[in-house]
Symmetry: C2
Subunit: 229 residues, 2 copies
């Protein structure tokens, strides 16, 4: 049997099995999300171009944030609109991080826009991540130290080996004046990369052995979308 | 047995088995490299900080380009110096592409600098790639069309499936005014990603079956270095 602790069941909890209905062990998000909105299945594809349909129980703040940027009532938002929607509640993410979030959370094709249910799922996930980030940003500097990244990712349910942590730090602490520390943007980006790759790996570890057999085509197709310029 | 055509033996030739001594089926590079300089093993680690040691047979142009930017005679060059060294002969690559080239071609630790032997290997490789690029840039526009990318990569020895080509195009044609076409910088970056991932995959396909069994840690460690901000 697989040693699931090695990739994310650090707290004995499974990943959300339905799309991105992620249910980590962190406490509930502070303000915007109601706890009942965790764990929704992926949004229906038909939500675009028509009525703006949020899942039942979606917190009014989430709907408000979405509608504030979806001015043409198209029912979906693009990367610039998502960036604006998240700025007030969470962080002004770089457009690079925003693209990664759309790639990971959107089921739309092409993956350049995001619908209301996907937005609600993302919002709730970021609420969880903010809680974990704040827990390790003890001096409220807006950054967490690199040596706490491993614990923070573990808090999100990802048991990442030290060598990988070192790689993440080497990649994601650029541009931050205090080298070796991550701001929330970099934390989300590197954590989302771990989350996305872990989910892809797990899809291929069908027998839960902790090992996945990948074809060359499958390997390239899985990995290249993460390598976004 | 593995169907090697699926990952790079499109012309019945093997990858260079010694580091990046890559020997594709493309014709020899046009000007700078002597053919005898292909296929060198990786450079010795001791080449840094001391005498500037090029492999025997290195073309004088390559040495000149290196020495012109290594002003302090440290024996290694950083990313800005590499960018400058390549600008005259090949292209003013983006710093992002330069970092990828250092990551793929440098054995130094930390991988932020490049020594003379590594530089010579890179120079020769780019000569090959320039030949292939020019072959498909038929109107000399400085760009190749996206539908020719597959053939161009095949010309470099990488048989990439159509779905992956589509992913590459989606990722790498940003910023080029003529959407769907790649300039040399983007061509090199996306091709180098394919080259690097293929070599990593092949290291794990030890029995040449076309399939690799990867552990979660191994998978993350292999992939994350390519996801450079």
């Amino acid at each position: 049997m697989a040693d699931y602790n090695r990739y994310g069941h650090a707290h004995g909890q499974g990943y959300g099995q339905q799309g991105y209905g992620y249910a980590p062990s962190a406490p509930p998000a502070p303000t915007p999300s109601s706890s009942s909105s965790y764990g929704y299945p992926p949004p229906p594809m038909g939500g675009f171009g028509g009525a703006v349909a949020f899942p039942p129980g979606t917190h009014p703040d989430v709907e408000r944030a979405f509608r504030a940027v979806d001015r043409d009532r198209s029912g979906s938002i693009d990367e610039g609109e998502l960036q604006a929607a998240l700025s007030g509640a969470y962080h002004r993410f770089s457009i690079r991080t925003v693209r990664l979030l759309i790639f990971l959370f959107s089921d739309a094709s092409p993956r350049s826009r995001m619908g209301p249910a996907e937005f609600a799922t993302l919002w709730n996930c970021l609420g969880q991540w903010r809680v974990v980030f704040d827990r390790y940003d003890r001096d409220r500097s807006g950054k967490i130290e690199s040596n706490e990244l491993r614990e923070a990712l573990r808090g999100l349910g990802y048991a990442v080996p030290p060598a990988v942590i070192d790689l993440l730090i080497a990649n994601y602490n650029n541009g931050v004046s205090n080298r070796g520390a991550l701001d929330f943007d970099n934390f989300v980006e590197c954590g989302m990369v771990v989350k996305g790759l872990t989910e892809k790996f797990k899809e291929n570890d069908t027998r839960h052995t902790g090992s996945a057999a990948l074809s060359y085509d499958g390997f390239l197709s899985m990995v290249i979308p993460f390598i976004v310029p």
